[in-house]
């Protein structure tokens, strides 16, 4: 049913688009500021060192390396990472200056068009797994520095598998329709009523850091919904609400606490794990304190959703009773009986907004599979948690997750054993070890 609906809507979209709209949406003339002669593989000179250094910071802020390097590879930017999407795996390309397998033959303009407008060298549409809908906000100056840095990267000869999505997603032209619906083809416009720091934060969050890619919920076609940065499901994880919502967002955190989280990978209550641990390790820990402060100031200004927090479950609820038991046996050694954890080492659970979203996926995944805190220069310990899949049944995981979400003043919907069973199957984790 779903598939037919999607195909149907695609057809309607294709038929309905007006040529003018399409043209505007696909307009990449903003990229014509860039040179179209010099190819990436051409060597740099000493003069370019300053631009290369600035560009390195841009590449880190954009976290290009995260997707454009295969897991475990020691060849940065050589591609091969399979980005899993609901539509199939998309392979990130080799973006080193290798002429044959990388983008050594590209010009600066080709590069801008790909990064900011999702166009390949031949004008073909890229899949929006490449967050050009965010990078379109990146300024010409930052783009130039980024280009100079990418030219300085070691060329790696490495052919990346071709992305082969099933029909109809293999029709790259259909991305024109997608773009028309979901791609806001406009650069960053500062808001003069806000401070410079706020504008800098907005520029980084909307553009290079592409926070919305994970933290904004997607619609059926993978486009951003209007619930900007209010949290989204990533399959195995729930990327939490990072608006100022006091219950599920970062409304109760000070700007310093947000900065600490992005710098160290953890703060008084939260420890970055899963995909956010990678984002902190690869990207945010390296941002300047001013930039982190700017991001905090912008995020704090974002309104949350209008959802009211639920009432906490009563302590007499059967899941709460068994959950408390399971918690005291398995969790208190690190997270403490008062749920406060150990700052910057073992996540606090009491008043931790990330745990109180309707979507409990991250908690279920963490209990089942374990978790590893971000590793940073400032906090190299990387506190970690073991898997409990072998030890706890689906009912027990559901009960302890429900307990964590409703103890110590927390309040969130209960978790069902069914949800846990589905997640266990999806993560391919073993059943609870039978008692002998």
């Amino acid at each position: 049913m779903k598939k037919i609906k999607i195909i149907g809507s695609l057809a309607v979209i294709a038929a309905a688009v007006a040529a003018v709209l399409l043209w505007r949406n696909g307009d990449a003339s903003a990229d014509e500021v860039a040179d179209n002669q010099i190819q990436m593989k051409q060597p740099l000179s000493q003069r370019d060192a300053a631009a290369v250094a600035r560009g390195k910071y841009i590449a880190i802020a954009g976290d290009c390396v995260a997707c454009h390097t295969a897991p475990g590879s020691k060849q940065p930017f050589s591609g091969g990472y399979a980005i899993s999407t609901p539509f199939g795996d998309i392979f990130a390309s080799n973006i080193t200056p290798d002429a044959e397998t990388g983008i050594g033959n590209w010009t600066e303009r080709d590069f801008y068009r790909a990064v900011r407008h999702g166009k390949g060298k031949e004008g073909e549409n890229l899949y929006p797994a490449m967050p050009y809908n965010a990078y379109v906000k990146v300024s010409d100056k930052d783009m130039h520095d980024l280009w100079m840095y990418m030219r300085s990267v070691k060329p790696v000869r490495s052919k990346v598998p071709e992305t082969q999505l099933p029909f109809p997603y293999n029709i790259r032209l259909a991305m024109m329709g997608w773009n028309l619906l979901f791609f806001d083809n406009s650069g960053f416009t500062p808001d003069p009523s806000q401070s410079d720091a706020w504008n800098r934060g907005a520029y980084l969050v909307q553009g290079l850091e592409h926070c919305a890619a994970c933290h904004t919920a997607k619609n059926l076609l993978g486009g951003d919904t209007r619930a900007y940065l209010q949290g989204s499901n990533l399959g195995d994880w729930h990327a939490p609400d990072i608006t100022s919502d006091p219950h599920t967002g970062i409304g109760q955190w000070s700007e310093e606490q947000i900065v600490q989280y992005l710098k160290l990978g953890s703060n008084h209550v939260a420890v970055a794990s899963g995909p956010m641990a990678e984002a902190v390790t690869n990207s945010t820990q390296h941002l300047s304190d001013d930039d982190l402060q700017a991001i905090a100031s912008y995020l704090k200004s974002l309104p949350g959703g209008d959802k009211q927090p639920p009432q906490p479950l009563a302590a007499s609820h059967p899941q709460m009773k068994s959950g408390e038991n399971i918690y005291s046996v398995n969790c208190t050694a690190c997270h403490n009986s008062n749920g406060k954890g150990i700052a910057n080492l073992a996540a606090g659970l009491a008043n931790n907004p990330g745990l109180q979203a309707d979507d409990a996926t991250s908690i279920i995944t963490t209990i089942l599979q374990g978790g590893r805190g971000a590793v940073t220069q400032g906090n190299p310990t990387s506190g970690a948690m073991p898997s409990f899949a072998w030890k706890l049944s689906d009912q027990q995981v559901a009960a302890v997750a429900t307990y964590i979400r409703n103890a110590w003043g927390n309040a969130a919907t209960p978790v069902s054993a069914d949800e846990v069973a589905k997640q266990r199957a999806k993560l391919k984790l073993p059943e609870q070890m039978p008692e002998r």
């Binding site: 398995n330 150990i342 080492l345 310990t381 970690a384 030890k391």
Partner: protein, 590 residues
């Protein structure tokens, strides 16, 4: 074909406390360091999670983390007229077998030695004259004094996050601390652990006897802590699973919790795991080391060339590697010449087993170093004039947790070994049985030494280390003295039955696990005729070879060795960075 790795500035053999501490210093100084560890990588969260770690059978009874004797062991005899046989079962020679080494499974007593322990010869002769030294005893100064080592003890305690209470701070005596300790330049980084019923009884009894009890400095973080390397420790939960266990709470001072996380962030640091170094390679003239040869997990032989070689394996393995590599002159017990393998000793342990009538020791909680101790009879803290020995022991109780399997024999004399009465007695013992541990000094003797076994070999066909050892007269006298003191304290504590224990009352055996603090065999000192290393733990024979660990100790103190091992490693690191790198060569001229 020969497998050769790219040359490193420094090759480190063994990644325990010594290896990781010196690697941290040398990588921070910019050197390219490759550490080679025989055991596997261990991951705190997944290998030791608190939810599964409390498995006494696996980690304690079956020594899940130690180097199995089937891989490498030693042979043993009490004197050179006997034939040595291999120790085939778990024994007191407990060698670490993982990244973190013995620092992963130790109990955590994080001591400094006293000033006397590092200058035993000078101070003994000064106070008592040569006559105090029993026949054949090897007594020599270390070449480094307590005052020189103090800043490095201080640094080690801060890296390790040691919990304790100073007794001597900047010349002042502090109440409730150890008044006999060497002067400290700063307080411990963390306050002492909470006391338990056992430590309270001991404290009150010894105080009433006029002694000076104090909480033992513990490598268990009493609070959440961030060390100078930015590494975080969680507060100890008093779970009682320290000795033989890893700590999944990031609470026990260990290379894994305190140093390696920082080290792994450095691009100029590499660790090769499951790779056993079999020899140090020498330049053609034999005057410098060119690197090491190791065998990897696939049984492939590799060479790791390096400008500096650091041996930081277990004490016995350091000595064995020197002998296998033919570096330095092996000790000859007949002519009493040579140095490698000379001045080996152990630890003299005596004390008392205590059985109370109606106590509540609550042994379901504890910590590896949760102890009260008196040092009134340790080192040279008391007058030995009429006693006929030197040294003594730290006398302590330890609330270490119940060990339901391991303590099954700690029952009053006459208790049946099985059946209903045994069960009843053991149930009672859970709240009532404990012991006083006199952790003694030990001085080496010219009859006892380490060499290569002429017959038995390891998996690679290389000779095993042979231990020739027994307690000497000084050990026996001091052990008896400490046993008597311990029995008196046990009675004062109110125990119904007190049974003296004395490991030195019979012959030494590696199967009597009185302690596992073996020392010496490649000792530091002031004279190349009586030491393998100079005061910087630098080989007298090869200036680019440094040997770290308890193998450097000419004598053992009445303490656990780890704090001193750590301090000496940092002392050597500083000498390498500030002196050796500028002018590679012997740091001490003779």
């Amino acid at each position: 074909m020969k497998n050769v790795r790219p040359k490193a500035d420094v090759a480190i053999v063994g990644l325990g406390w010594c290896g990781s501490l010196i690697a941290e210093e040398l990588t921070r100084a910019g050197l390219n360091v490759v550490a080679i560890e025989r055991g596997p990588w261990f991951e705190t969260a997944t290998d030791f999670p608190p939810s599964v770690d409390t498995d006494e059978l696996r980690w304690d009874t079956r020594r899940g983390m130690l180097l199995p004797p089937a891989v490498e062991t030693s042979t043993f005899r009490n004197n050179s007229n006997q034939k040595a046989l291999p120790t085939r079962d778990w024994n007191l020679n407990e060698m670490g077998y993982n990244v973190g080494g013995s620092g992963t499974h130790w109990a955590g007593m994080a001591w400094r030695f006293t000033p006397f322990d590092l200058e035993p010869y000078t101070q003994t002769v000064k106070r008592y004259g040569e006559k105090q030294i029993t026949d054949g005893l090897i007594l020599q100064d270390w070449g480094v004094t307590y005052d020189e080592l103090e800043p490095f003890y201080d640094r080690f305690e801060k890296i390790a996050g040691v919990s304790g209470k100073a007794g001597r701070l900047n010349g002042e005596t502090i109440p409730d601390g150890n008044p006999f300790e060497g002067n400290r330049s700063s307080e411990y980084p963390l306050p002492p652990l909470e006391g338990m019923r056992l430590t309270d009884i001991f404290r009150d009894a010894t105080k009433a006897m006029g002694y000076h009890p104090f909480m033992v400095p513990a490598g268990q973080a009493s609070r959440a802590y961030v060390n100078p390397l930015g590494v975080r420790m969680g507060p100890c939960t008093y779970c009682g699973y320290c000795l033989y266990y890893g700590c999944g709470n990031f609470s026990k001072s260990s290379p894994n919790a305190c140093v390696i996380p920082a080290l792994m962030q450095r691009e100029n640091f590499t660790v090769l795991t499951e790779s056993a170094v079999v020899r140090v390679n020498k330049a053609a003239d034999g005057k410098t080391a060119t690197g090491v040869t190791y065998i990897d997990r696939n049984n492939q032989e590799w060479e790791q060339p390096a400008d500096i070689v650091v041996l930081s394996a277990f004490q016995m393995q350091n000595v064995r590697l020197l002998l296998l590599s033919k570096i330095g002159q092996p000790y000859n017990p007949i002519t009493k010449t040579g140095v490698v393998g000379r001045a080996y000793s152990f630890q003299t342990v005596s004390g008392a087993n205590l059985f109370f009538e109606d106590e509540n020791l609550n042994q379901f909680i504890g910590a590896g170093a949760l102890s009260q101790q008196i040092d009134d009879f340790n080192g040279d803290n008391f007058d030995h004039s009429e006693l006929g020995f030197i040294g003594g022991a730290g006398i302590l109780v330890v609330a270490r947790g119940a060990r339901p399997i391991g303590n099954a024999d700690l029952l009053p004399p006459g208790t049946p070994r099985w059946g209903k009465d045994w069960k009843k007695a053991y149930t009672h013992a859970f709240q009532n049985a404990t012991f006083i541990f006199g952790q003694g000094t030990s001085y080496s003797h010219e009859d006892y030494y380490l060499d290569l076994d002429p017959e038995y070999t390891d998996d690679y066909g290389l000779p095993l280390l042979r231990v020739t050892f027994d307690y000497n007269e000084n050990d026996r006298r001091s052990a008896k003295f400490i046993e008597e003191k311990s029995v008196a304290i046990g009675k004062a504590m109110g125990a119904k039955t007190v049974v003296g224990t004395n490991s030195a009352s019979g012959h030494y055996s590696p199967y009597n696990l009185a302690s596992d603090h073996t020392i010496g065999g490649a000792v530091m000192g002031t004279d190349p005729k009586t030491s393998v290393l100079n005061r910087y733990q630098q080989s007298w024979d090869m200036h680019n070879l440094f040997v770290l660990g308890a193998s450097s100790f000419p004598n053992n103190a009445g303490y656990n060795p780890t704090g001193t091992i750590g301090a000496l490693s940092l002392w050597t690191a500083k000498a390498i960075i500030e002196q050796y790198l500028k002018n590679p060569g012997p740091l001490v001229k003779v």
